[in-house]
Subunit: 266 residues, 2 copies
Amino acid sequence: MLELRLVQGSLLKKVMEAIKELVTDANFDCSASGFSLQAMDSSHVALVALLLRSEGFEHYRCDRNISMGMNLNNMSKMLKCAGNDDIITIKADDGSDTVTFMFESPSQDKISDFEMKLMDIDSEHLGIPEAEYHAIVRMPSSEFARICKDLSSIGDTVVISVTKEGVKFSTRGDIGTANIVCMQNTTVDKPEEATVIEMNEPVSLTFALRYMNSFTKATPLSNTVTISLSNELPVVVEYKIAEMGYVRFYLAPKIEEDEDETKPQV
Amino acid sequence: MLELRLVQGSLLKKVMEAIKELVTDANFDCSASGFSLQAMDSSHVALVALLLRSEGFEHYRCDRNISMGMNLNNMSKMLKCAGNDDIITIKADDGSDTVTFMFESPSQDKISDFEMKLMDIDSEHLGIPEAEYHAIVRMPSSEFARICKDLSSIGDTVVISVTKEGVKFSTRGDIGTANIVCMQNTTVDKPEEATVIEMNEPVSLTFALRYMNSFTKATPLSNTVTISLSNELPVVVEYKIAEMGYVRFYLAPKIEEDEDETKPQV
DNA sequence: CTATTGAAAA
DNA sequence: TTTTCAATAG
């Protein structure tokens, strides 16, 4: 028996919007500690990891660990039927091959329930090692989204270079080149507007903008984004979910000087 | 000679937006009592009835009953040229085959007139008997629109079931099932937010969501919608037009247990 | 927060 | 053309 009651239902709606472009089918794993997901994108290049800790739910009951395979597009369709300030409850009976989403309007006079078939999905759960990163950049998520969008109108890849002073995003395309530098800046009115750089070693890595732009679909989840970089490691683009957890995206760097379109593997 | 002056011109614009998706050509009938229309939708499944009583016009002159055939798309194009707080006057000379729409800006410094050709349209004017309905639901029009939109992302038809406690909207599709229950609720701050159920007998009827969604184009006309249901009778979805009349939509229920796509007749 | 509108992208 | 995104108004 599984019953998870989330007062701020809009969070779950935003999570779905954030990941459904990248991942079409995935297993949601429920345990006593929380509700999580880990999945490769359909071209097996990027990895998405979601965690919603049990403490963030108003009510959290998960008698035994279960893994529920869902089509994220269908799940998203149903979640779109929830109002933005509805309370969402996810329910599944033991052994059932369906999951039920229940939506309660704030005034409690409208109650909806949507039942969806579960699916069997093979998935290797990758252990993601905690790594030390050469550089960690925290910046406003909207600014990062704007940069990725702007650069993708010029080129296909972005070189992210971090120095103590700032982070530089560069691209190159048929029509020219572009460089956007964000200086470290901690003297802003609101902490979420700061650009903060923690750096042990300078790094410069190249990524496909197509994936970066998919990651920025998570922008509504958080005012800030954290980008963790190391040479030879996948970048981690993390959006924290207040009081509950995170959505993290992993993407392997392209090997520099490699001008063709070979797909890197995570 | 016909001359109808409507101070709140936006009403007429909204009426056109409400019905032009369903009806392409129709006769507008003018008499001393008012300006009305009755027409089947192009697939002859739903019926639209409009009434604007003469008392709602600032000036109403209609020397003799006339029926003016108009293409609603063209009429809508012209009405879109009126500002939302323009005063609209509809004029037609006896025996003329055109109608003129005149728009006066509130400040009276801009006066437009648009002349449109009338057309000959055959139409049987159906007498719609006043019926006793088993159940009448009044609810916020925006909520009804939201429900029809949400359900149509899951299935093609909606089952509307009314009990004393509330009204349930259900659908079923490839990806799962959905049920939305709205409780009777008369204890709200504003009367237009109430959900009120008058029921003599429980009813449960099935309708095509495609038509329901067309009906909800009338949502801007009124804060509330009234849904009148009886077994074996077409449902009536009514949007009242303040001080003037109504737009009513009629749609025959699908015969239950009928899984194929036969079109019901009104 | 929702709804509408206009602009931009697929 | 259809769909989606962003922005603004209520």
